[in-house]
């Protein structure tokens, strides 16, 4: 007796194939949490530092500023710490972490068929509005992240897991702020 395997859709060759792989579902959130927790734990165990995103961004911005206006860096105390004098702003753990995260996200997107140029938004707003809000939200979020000395990764995950009192307090503020504004933005997401 022979069974005939159902013909699989043949992946398209070339660059187009990269963007048309079959899309797989996301993993269960608890599994995602456990895996992320293990990554976070290994980071602390091996290196003493946790995970971070906004710090690495800060350093990429500082390197551009340093190239364009080195004198300006040396006159701004906040930037001086990152890139003053001969200091290389990229010589910090947060830089390879965020660079690795970009690659990791891309590789997972590739294997799971989620490398797709698209705009995720609520059904009631235009693409243009969504992109404008994304940029605005990004600027606000990052401004807050630097003020708090870390974002949901550097403070939320890393400070949360090491039981930092300030991190727990500010994590409540992140959720509080988002919930407080969510009602007014319900039409953009629902």
């Amino acid at each position: 007796m022979t069974t005939i395997a159902p013909a699989r859709p043949k992946p398209r060759a070339g660059l187009r194939g990269v963007f048309s792989r079959p899309e797989k579902p996301y993993i269960h959130p608890y599994l995602g949490g456990a895996l992320l927790g293990i990554v976070l734990f290994l980071a602390f165990l091996i290196t003493r530092n946790g995970l971070g995103a906004s710090g690495g961004m800060n350093r990429y911005v500082a390197v551009v500023e340093d190239a364009i206006a080195p004198g300006h860096i040396d006159r701004t105390p906040y930037l001086l710490k990152l890139a003053g004098g001969a200091k290389n702003p990229l010589d910090d753990w947060s830089v390879p972490v965020i660079t690795g995260a970009l690659l990791g996200g891309m590789v997972s997107g590739f294997f799971n068929g989620r490398l797709k140029a698209e705009i995720n938004k609520g059904p009631r707003i235009t693409n243009r509005t969504r992109l404008l809000l994304a940029f605005t939200g990004g600027a606000i979020m990052a401004y807050g992240a630097r003020m708090a000395r870390g974002c949901t990764s550097g403070q939320g995950l890393s400070g949360g897991a090491t039981l930092s009192a300030g991190s727990w307090a500010l994590m409540m503020c992140i959720f509080g702020g988002a919930y407080a504004l969510a009602y007014f933005l319900r039409k953009t997401w629902n």
Binding site: I27, Y30, G32, G33, L36, I38, L40, F41, L45, I46, T47, R48, A53, G55, V61, E65, T76, P77, L82, D92, W93, P96, V97, T99, G100, L102, G104, G105, M106, G109, N120, L131, L133, A134, F135, G137, G138, A139, I140, M141, A142, Y143, G144, M147, A148, R149, T152, S153, Q155, G159, G160, T162, S164, A165, A169, M172, I174, G176, W189, N190
Partner: protein
């Protein structure tokens, strides 16, 4: 000594270039798992705030409690030195205000910085725009921080943990946090059922096993307890006793004088004597920390810039200072030295000009003040702050500043 964190990561990374690669691999895992969990999709993230899909809560707190129980279990069994782990410092008000601003940005833009990186990496246009906005935001912060520099550095509590705030043992806090997270997961599922119309019967049974595992590990942390001062000292005692006996860490008063005058060094002088002795005479800039209060300032010492901080402990002779040194060694504070011969030796070297300060004949080794002072002038005696340029003193230099990487890695976050 606990083998983690690895020695190479306590030094400047450029001394071991492979360490960058390790951080890159960690970042890769970070990005991979974020994408796998759906964090590249802004709709999924925003759904959190309409109670339809609490993936954000589950992944984030799932990760926090998983990492937390593993960190404190590793510390309890002695493979991880928690004092060397970077705990984000608490700057209360900037943190709270920054948190609220971040919350606003989250719901407006649909991402946080880390998730936008993953989203951009999978070519989501809104993720790319958010990332560009975030880069603009950090730029804007760097340019405007000078207008509220005072506020940004205010309400500083240093390395402050929930254990310090609530005066509870680590194991209790760990267990409470696990229970709180499990309660939030349960509540989140109920919300998903009511508002998101999710059928909970289809959720995997395995999640109960996961919850059970978290509780078991948290209980293990509670039962094992975290290493106390005696445990910590026992781990390092043989090596440290050897350097005490070889007198590698007792620095000559002349070396302390030279170090105090060195602008490149951040010299912390800790005077562990009684308050009475301290009031009679102490070095200019010395901080009074009696032995029984020394442990309380350890978190502060751990957060000092590691590249250039030298801590010098002193008593009248060396006995109490040596106890203080041992405690700080056990707590993994780096670059700690003892003032050789203590305050008595300091006065012997620098007190010639003090006509009214007379020796009492107290035998060396008793760790009592061996001079009589006419008045309790503290640091207003000339010998309390000798001019390094006027004294030419021969000594054998012993301070070997170990090049260390600051825990936060220089900048913050």
């Amino acid at each position: 000594m606990p083998i983690f964190p690895l020695q190479a990561f306590l030094q400047p990374l450029s001394e071991n270039p492979w360490t960058y690669l390790v951080f890159g691999v960690i970042g890769f895992g970070f990005g991979y798992v974020l994408e796998l969990s759906g964090f590249g999709n802004s709709k999924k993230l925003a759904a959190q705030f309409y109670f339809k899909d609490l993936t954000v809560l589950k992944v984030m707190f799932g990760a926090i409690v998983t990492a937390m129980v593993l960190i404190f279990l590793s510390s309890a069994v002695g493979i991880l030195d928690f004092n060397l782990v970077y705990v984000p410092e608490t700057y209360l008000w900037p943190g709270l205000l920054g948190g609220v601003i971040m919350g606003f940005g989250f719901i407006i833009g649909g991402f946080c910085p880390g998730t936008s990186v993953v989203s951009a990496a999978t070519f989501k246009i809104d993720g790319i725009l958010f990332l560009l906005g975030a880069l603009f935001g950090v730029f804007a912060f760097g340019e405007t921080e000078k207008f509220f520099d005072g506020f940004w550095h205010s309400s500083y509590f240093g390395r402050l943990t929930l254990m310090d705030v609530f005066h509870l043992p680590t194991g209790v806090v760990v267990l409470l946090v696990v229970l709180m997270a499990l309660f939030m997961f349960w509540g989140g599922e109920q919300l998903e059922r009511l508002i998101g119309k999710r059928d909970l019967a289809r959720e995997p049974r395995l999640r109960y096993a996961g919850a059970g595992a978290l509780i078991v590990v948290a209980l293990a942390v509670l039962v094992l307890g975290q290493p106390d001062a005696a445990d910590r000292w026992a781990r390092v005692a043989s090596a440290k006793e050897a350097s005490l006996a070889a007198r590698e860490v007792q620095i000559h008063p002349g070396e302390l004088l030279a170090n105090r005058a060195d602008d490149k060094l951040n010299v912390l002088i800790l005077d562990v004597r009684s308050e009475a002795d301290y009031n009679v005479f102490h070095l200019d800039g010395a901080r009074h920390v009696p032995l029984d209060q020394l442990r309380a300032i350890v978190p502060e010492l751990l957060q000092q810039p590691a590249e250039n901080t030298v801590t010098v402990v002193m008593s009248n002779d060396e006995a109490a200072a040596t106890d203080a040194w041992k405690l700080l060694q056990a707590e993994s504070v780096s670059n700690v030295y003892i003032l050789e011969g203590g305050i008595n030796n300091w006065i012997k070297v620098f007190g010639a000009a003090e006509r009214e300060v007379t020796p009492t004949g107290t035998p060396v080794g008793s760790d009592r003040l061996a001079y009589l002072f006419p008045a309790a002038l503290g640091s207003r005696y000339e010998a309390a702050d000798p001019d390094a340029n006027e004294w030419k003193i021969e000594y054998e230099p012993k301070v070997k500043l170990q090049r260390k990487r600051s825990p936060s890695g220089g900048g913050c976050g």
